[in-house]
């Protein structure tokens, strides 16, 4: 254990769980705070100055969010987060289609086995309501097969939902290809871009995206705010999830939280300005971490496509050691076994299973998410800490795998 490792033991752990949530950028905080205190008006109180000031701030934020994906501000509906946006996109499209059937009626939804729980759960609910759902498998590297998608789309397919960048394995799907296929077949294309928005370039026109879900707290903005992009031309119609008050053009009722909207807008504007440089920096750091670990841990496996992937993400299987043991042996790092919603669960990630990983490997996998505030020193610390924890935990557990490769590792770890 290096002295650097020791010095960390009494400080906060290094945060490498940025796919779960991100630290609020201080610049976003500064933008938000006035709207919590001085400018506290209800943005729907159009009759007085406090209300109008809040309303203007909300509209500025709407423009900033729209600009990042090449949308019109009127196409942005604020929600409480990406989970609500995903629920609104899927159930809203389905319920509207049922209320206003085309000929033939479109009642079929296509999605991937690796989608976020909130998409899969929404689909399951729609299935209970009589919609038909096709859940496509993915390739071993986590990417969609466009041929399989093409085969799955039928004249009754209403909507196809595919995550832009994956929350666990970071893979980036071929959005333009999916959009082109959907467009050709008259199928609505929804993408859950909670992890992609602000991290990689997105263009709703070029990618032919009809519905796109956005989260604030994944891009150094506040929790409790997100948005759904809803195409206006041609117009995509949705039934609201909830009603009352008529806010957000009747699509999403409830008083808008002006400070949170401002925070999402500012976070989007910062991401727009810094995305390119940040992607280069993160990729370099991420690759440094990966190579450092791979050199010391024979058999280390990268889950998901190595190239078509978020520059900040690693999902690694540490051979022969259950991930919870590794994490427990490494308290100076905040990493996770997968999605936060289910990270308390003990069963292996359904996402890794969908890639075809055997349970032993899926159980041995951790997710590492770098972020805007991750620096080189933290990456080197993390590499040392993970390698040390791996061998310590494996020795304690008496892992036969590690004993078998032990001598070779000692050299590699030097």
């Amino acid at each position: 254990m290096t002295s650097d490792t020791l010095s960390r033991t009494n400080t906060a752990p290094v945060y490498l769980d940025n796919q779960s949530t991100t630290r609020l950028d201080p610049r976003v905080l500064a933008a938000i705070l006035p709207y919590f205190t001085e400018e506290f008006g209800n943005p729907h109180s159009e009759s007085h100055a406090y209300g109008r000031t809040a309303a203007e701030a909300v509209e500025q934020a709407r423009r900033e969010v729209a600009a990042l994906i090449g949308a019109d501000p009127r196409e942005i509906t604020f929600t409480s987060g990406a989970t609500e946006a995903n629920n609104l996109a899927l159930k809203g499209a389905a319920h509207f289609a049922r209320a206003h059937p085309q000929d033939p009626p479109r009642d079929h939804i296509v999605t991937l086995a690796t989608e976020h729980k909130c998409v899969l759960e929404s689909c399951r609910r729609l299935e209970e309501e009589g919609f038909r759902v096709t859940i496509l498998p993915v390739e071993p590297d986590g990417l969609i097969s466009l041929a399989a998608l093409d085969a799955a789309l039928t004249p009754t397919t209403l909507l196809c939902s595919v995550m832009a960048a994956h929350n666990e394995i970071g893979v980036i799907q071929p959005l333009a290809g999916i959009g082109a296929l959907c467009h050709e077949r008259g199928v609505l294309f929804h993408t859950d871009a909670a992890q992609a928005f602000g991290k990689i370039p997105l263009d709703v026109a070029a990618m032919k995206i009809d519905l796109l879900s956005i989260s604030g707290h994944k891009i150094y903005g506040p929790k409790g705010i997100g948005a759904l992009y809803v195409r206006r031309r041609p117009r995509v119609r949705l039934a609201p999830l909830f009603d009352g008050g008529g806010q957000e053009r009747g699509l999403r009722a409830g008083t808008l939280p002006a400070p949170l909207c401002v925070g999402l807008g500012r976070a989007a504007a910062l991401a727009a300005a810094e995305m390119d440089g940040e992607a280069v920096r993160l990729r370099r750091l991420r690759d440094r971490l990966y190579h450092s670990l791979a050199r010391r841990i024979p058999g280390l496996r990268l889950n998901g496509n190595a190239e078509r992937r978020l520059p900040s993400n690693l999902n690694l299987a540490f051979p022969g050691l259950p991930a919870p043991d590794l994490i427990a042996a490494c308290p100076s790092l905040a990493v996770s076994t997968g999605s936060a919603c289910t990270s308390a669960a003990v069963e292996p990630s359904y996402v890794l299973r969908a890639l075809g990983l055997p349970d032993a490997l899926a159980n041995a996998s951790i997710r590492i998410g770098l972020g805007r505030f991750t620096d080189g020193a933290e990456i080197d610390f993390a590499a040392d800490a993970l390698a040390a924890a791996y061998y310590a935990a494996a020795r304690n557990a008496g892992s036969p795998y590690i004993e078998a490769v032990g001598s070779g590792i000692a050299e590699g770890a030097e």
Binding site: T21, S47, H48, K223, G246, G254, T255, A258, P259
Partner: protein, 375 residues
């Protein structure tokens, strides 16, 4: 701290953040960690969420596990009305738009001239149809402040096997509130109405209400409401719930409100203070200046730096007369000339004086009373 050059009397639309809530929000905004993550930062977030849940439960006399955090009162009302699975839904005629629109097929419970639910009519409605029902009546009205007899409504509902949902968005933190004593099965709360942040609310659901979730996903809030927890919002809600438990401050506010109404009626004998004799929130006044459209009044007062509203904020852009005042039997002309003045815990005597001055100047300008005579 707070810059208040103007006179803000629209607290029922939204209340300025209380200092206690501001501190909690600012601290939580700087806490990084998803409360559902198992690592140290996640667990610290989880503690913030569960402490707030305790505080919110305590404010309304419920148990912490009954509190489901939502994005606000509108969402909570929608979960209650759309998720109950009850064959019949009965709502009072004076409910908030989020209740009325969440259950467009609901049967209306008539109200009296003060906007109070007629219990005999509710009894008859419930007796007329044996199917399982949900009764939804707000605790206090957002436009008039009138307080409904929630305990007796709950008793009636339960006698007929119905569930009782109560929208307590405006009442919480202003009057004593005890879910258990009242017999409320489902209760809606909104943080920003009591000086917490906007974007957070709660549905307090008694066990075995069997609610169908509106938002599905990662299983947060025990599967009743999915989505990463709004940590700063929840922290601010908890802080304001603790601060709002102290109700003594409202005696002063009530005196200010009563003084305001008395002064107006002395200046303007034809003005109307709605439901002044009914049990009401201490902070709300609905006042008609006959012959002057509410929109005109609100704009004139705004130009003078006094902020009030013509009714509910969500619909304040519309010119439709208030459905609440109409249900109370006010004619459309009187309803169209009514503004809502709502005070808060920090409202001062000087602010009330500013309002009176501004309102009186407007009152003395020539008005068109033709419509009133015709009506």
């Amino acid at each position: 701290m707070m810059k208040r050059p103007e006179t803000y009397l629209d607290w029922n639309a939204t209340a300025p953040l209380r200092p206690e809530a501001a501190a909690a929000v600012a601290a939580a905004l700087q806490h990084c960690g998803n409360p559902s993550s198992v690592h140290r930062w996640g667990r610290a977030g989880r503690r913030i969420v569960e402490d707030a849940r305790e505080a919110v439960a305590a404010l309304v006399g419920a148990a912490a596990p009954e509190v489901v955090f939502t994005s606000g009162g509108t969402e909570a009302n929608n979960i209650a009305l759309r998720g109950s699975g009850r064959a019949r839904i009965l709502v009072s005629a004076v409910e908030h738009a989020s209740v009325l629109e969440a259950a467009p097929e609901a049967e209306a419970i008539p109200v009296d001239g003060n906007g109070i639910v007629r219990l005999d009519a509710l009894d008859a409605l419930l007796a007329a149809d044996p199917r399982p029902a949900l009764v939804s009546v707000m605790l206090a009205n957002n436009e008039t402040g009138v307080i409904e007899p929630a305990g007796r409504i709950a008793e009636l509902a339960h006698r007929h096997g119905a569930l009782f949902h109560c929208d307590a968005v405006q009442a919480a933190g202003k009057v004593p509130l005890d879910c258990r004593a009242l017999g409320v099965d489902l209760l809606t709360l909104s943080a920003h109405k009591l000086g917490g942040p906007s974007g957070i609310g709660a549905l307090v659901a008694a066990p075995d209400c069997g609610l169908e979730p509106l938002i599905r996903g990662g299983g947060q809030e025990r599967g009743r409401r999915a989505g990463s927890e709004n940590l700063p919002g929840i922290a601010g809600f908890g802080a304001v719930a603790r601060a709002a438990a102290e109700l003594a401050v409202w005696d002063r506010v009530r005196a200010l409100r009563d003084g305001l109404e008395a002064a107006l009626l002395a200046i303007a004998p034809d003005a109307v203070a709605f439901a002044a004799a009914a049990p009401r929130l201490p902070n709300t006044a609905a006042i008609a200046m006959p012959g002057r459209p509410a929109e005109t009044q609100v704009i004139a007062l705004d130009l003078d730096g006094v902020m009030v509203s013509a009714g509910a904020a969500c619909s304040s852009g519309k010119v439709r007369p208030s459905h609440v005042l109409e249900a109370m039997g006010a004619g459309p002309d009187l309803a169209r000339s009514t503004i809502r003045v709502s005070l808060g815990w920090s409202t001062t005597k000087a602010e009330i004086a500013r309002f009176l001055e501004s309102w009186t100047a407007l009152y003395r300008r020539p008005r068109n009373l033709e419509g009133m005579r015709a009506a």
